[in-house]
């Protein structure tokens, strides 16, 4: 039963990162694009799906709470400021979707809320992963690092890196969903964002090696981890090829593959720890009564239903957005 919930948790995290990743990325790009027509089309490209995407974060949180309460308690208390600031950022960017179109005088304000909210949410997520990779100050299962124990040059680097990576996914999504001018802009941005991402990954690995982070030992113990960078490299090549040949969907899919490879690399190098090197999956797991209770309803019925619905929603809203459908209702 623990295995089931580890897989379910991994799946919800990955889906959250991929799905909310692209709409956060579109939000970040929105911040740097001043053209009103572009902005409307960018919103239109994500408006039918963003709240569904964000729900994967809530599902991740509640699975963690129910199935791995100790990690939920430890991680959230360690990341107190980034989590709550990130949530406020998500709240602001979420209401901006509705408010922007209804506002008259305050439209600029909601534009900033949407863009900056996306940027902040992406940054804190990256910083949290960076802090986990670097290692948190934990004694006897209690976080002892204070308000800024998660903050380091390394976590800032990872935060910035994730912003670039989400922007890459966002640009891929825009290339797939938009036509004309905006599609051209997205295709022009993609190679630059990819270069930025690869640079960041190189620096992150170099910094981890230079700092002698214990997690890097995993790569010597587990040489098969090398499959993930290889997969990532292949995806990067596929992305560039897709840009060169102007394949609409390819950059997004390849960007997603890069994310999946990175996620796999982090997850496998953490294993069997959930918070490296403080708490393992088995230590964190809730008692079997809790896991089974969740399994019969949430795991067996609701999770597959939710997956099916997500697939269905993407089908319904599939294809290019029409220019006339610019989000201004």
């Amino acid at each position: 039963m623990i295995t089931f919930w580890v897989v379910a948790l991994g799946l919800t995290i990955l889906l959250y990162v991929l799905l909310d990743g692209f709409d956060l990325g579109v939000g970040i790009l929105h911040l740097f694009n001043r053209d009103e027509a572009d902005r409307r089309r960018m919103l239109a490209a994500v408006s039918p799906v963003w709240d569904g995407n964000e729900t994967w974060l809530v599902l991740t949180g509640t699975i963690l709470f129910g199935a791995f309460s100790k990690v939920f308690a430890l991680a959230l208390s360690a990341f107190y400021l980034p989590v709550l600031v990130g949530i406020c950022a998500l709240v602001l960017r979420g209401v901006a979707f509705e408010f922007r179109s209804k506002a008259t005088r305050t439209r600029r304000l909601w534009d900033v809320a949407f863009g900056a909210g996306s940027l902040v949410a992406a940054f804190v997520q990256g910083a949290a992963v960076g802090a986990l990779v670097r290692g948190l100050p934990i004694e006897n299962g209690v976080y002892t690092g204070g308000a800024f124990g998660w903050l380091s040059g390394y976590s800032v680097l990872c935060g910035a890196g994730l912003c670039v990576a989400y922007a890459l996914l966002g640009a891929g999504w825009l290339a797939a969903k938009c036509d004309g001018d905006l599609r051209d802009k997205a295709f022009a941005l993609l190679p630059r964002l990819l270069l930025g991402l690869l640079l960041f990954l190189a620096v992150a690995v170099a910094a981890a090696l230079a700092a002698g982070l214990p997690i890097m030992g995993r790569w010597i113990e587990r040489p098969y981890l090398a499959v993930f960078p290889l997969l990532g490299a292949a995806a990067a090549w596929g992305l560039l090829d897709g840009v060169a040949k102007r394949r609409d969907l390819r950059p997004f899919l390849m960007g997603g593959l890069i994310f999946t490879a990175a996620f796999g690399a982090v997850a496998v190098s953490f294993w069997p720890y959930m918070v490296p090197f403080a708490i393992t999956v088995d230590e964190a797991a809730s008692p079997p009564q809790s896991l089974w209770f969740m399994f019969w309803g949430a795991g067996l019925i609701a999770l597959p239903l939710t997956l099916a619905y997500t697939a269905f929603a993407y089908r319904v809203f599939g294809g290019k957005i029409a220019d006339s459908a610019a989000y201004d209702e």
């Binding site: 989590v83 008692p287 009564q289």
Partner: protein, 462 residues
């Protein structure tokens, strides 16, 4: 200020803000289902116009409820990590069910409600409306399971300092839950009904959209008139469980400091915790026993029976409870008078009553909020009643500065979105029901419906 007090303030602030939206949207979702059902079976376009207006309002309230709800789930971990580590095996699965059922039903069918009218058949659209309403009610159910377990923990054993669930059936069928969940659900329905009636009364007073206003006013008042007595009954049952299982909370609500037999009922007073007595007290003898046990002789316990560290604060539950009951009785008066005059077709003559109904729209919100204050503050000093103290649930090593900065952040962000959300809702209400629903014949088989009714009310086109 300590991290503990700041965390409590932050939780109280965010949850008070949050509860306003679900209690409104649960009621409106149920009402939308009824409207869509009526539209389907009677074919009258007026239901569709009312539906379209309230769907837009529902959209805003629903969105704000969702985003403010995300914060709640994570605060359990950020501020109350000892609680989540200890009670996670019970509370976590319940919240997981909440997010899964809410997502599976609300999120999926809400998209159909907003964008799907042209794409699905009318019965399927109606079905989607019902599913959204069901989703909001399920969501409330799981939250109430969770909270009722904190009020009256059952079905658990304690091992290594954590709560291990031993009997999920006991948790899901706890009698406490089954009086508190209907109490909350009825509160939500009454909120929707009173808001609909207030909007209808407002249009009536401004002599516009009369057909739609009539639907809102009649349905709202009738529903409230029927539900309010039922709500009072469930409120009484809720009081019974508090009396039996949380005697300290009951004594605090009654501001009863010492044992009394038979007990009097303090109608109003200023409780003085230091002196352990009430000032400016107005008290009715014997009524306290009557309320507590329906007898004239029962002995009722006072707060001084409990050691000081086990007593809840008195002033907040005492006043909050009285405000809640006062709001309930005021709504009952408005709804009965309005429904009585409405049924006799005389309501329009009493403009003061219509104004009172308009002005009464905050009453259900106030009643819900003060009801929660009574329940939650009255549970103190416990977070899991009788087992885990709030002070012991706090995140270890949480810096007061962190708690203060996030409290300020939440106050700023929530105040901003609340203000704008309220403005947008009022703007939609001021614009009123649209002339023609969606610009299409409401029912393709009866295109005349559309043209016959469209020009009837030019005012509403604004």
């Amino acid at each position: 200020m300590t991290a503990l007090l700041l965390s409590r303030l932050q939780f109280a602030y965010t949850i008070s803000f949050h509860i306003i939206f679900p209690s409104f949207s649960i009621g409106i979702a149920a009402w939308l289902s009824v409207l869509e059902g009526l539209r389907l079976f009677t074919g009258k376009p007026v239901y569709r116009r009312v539906f379209d207006l309230w769907l837009k309002i529902f959209g805003i309230a629903f969105g704000m409820g969702v985003v403010s709800g995300i914060a709640m789930a994570f605060q359990f971990g950020t501020n109350w990590s000892r609680l989540s580590a200890a009670a996670g095996p019970i509370q976590g699965p319940l919240l997981a069910y909440e997010s899964f059922t809410a997502f599976a039903l609300e999120a999926s069918f809400f998209g159909v409600l907003l964008f799907g009218r042209p794409r699905v058949s009318p019965p399927l659209y109606f079905f989607s409306t019902v599913m959204v309403a069901l989703g909001t009610a399920f969501s409330a159910f799981w939250i109430m399971v969770n909270n009722s377990w904190m009020q009256a923990p059952v079905g658990y054993a304690i091992a290594d300092g954590t709560f291990v669930p031993t009997d999920w059936a006991a948790i899901l069928f706890s009698p406490v839950l089954w009086v508190r969940f209907p109490h909350m659900l009825l509160a939500a329905f009454i909120t929707g009904a009173m808001c609909a009636a207030a909007a209808g009364a407002w249009y009536m007073l401004h002599d516009r959209s009369k057909e739609e206003a009539g639907v809102m006013l009649r349905m709202g008042l009738l529903l409230a008139a029927i539900l309010l007595p039922i709500q009072l009954f469930f409120g009484h049952l809720t009081g019974d469980y508090v009396h039996d299982r949380q005697p300290a909370k009951f004594a605090a609500i009654e501001a009863r400091w010492h044992d009394e037999q038979p007990a009097g009922e303090v109608v109003i007073a200023i409780p003085d915790a230091q002196a352990q007595t009430n000032r400016y007290e107005v008290k009715i003898p014997v009524l306290g026993s009557l309320i507590a046990t329906l007898t004239t002789t029962s002995k009722e316990v006072g707060l001084t029976d409990f050691p000081p560290q086990d007593r809840p604060p008195v002033a907040i539950p005492f006043f909050a409870f009285r405000i809640m009951v006062g709001c309930g009785l005021a709504m009952l008066a408005l709804a009965w008078l309005g429904a009585f005059l409405g049924l006799r077709q005389r309501l329009m003559r009493y403009r003061w009553l219509l104004w009172a109904i308009v002005a009464g729209f905050p009453l259900p919100f106030l009643a819900t909020l003060t009801g929660w204050f009574t329940a939650e503050v009255g549970r103190q000093p416990w977070v899991v009643y009788g087992v885990l103290r709030t002070a012991d649930a706090l995140t270890p090593n949480l810096a007061a500065g962190s708690a203060l900065s996030t409290l300020i952040l939440f106050v700023l962000v929530y105040t901003a979105i609340f203000t704008f959300g309220a403005v947008f809702i009022f703007r939609l209400l001021a614009a009123g029901p649209a002339l023609a629903p969606g610009g299409l014949p409401a029912n393709p088989k009866r295109p005349l419906d559309f043209s016959a009714h469209a020009p009837a009310d030019p005012e509403s086109a604004q």
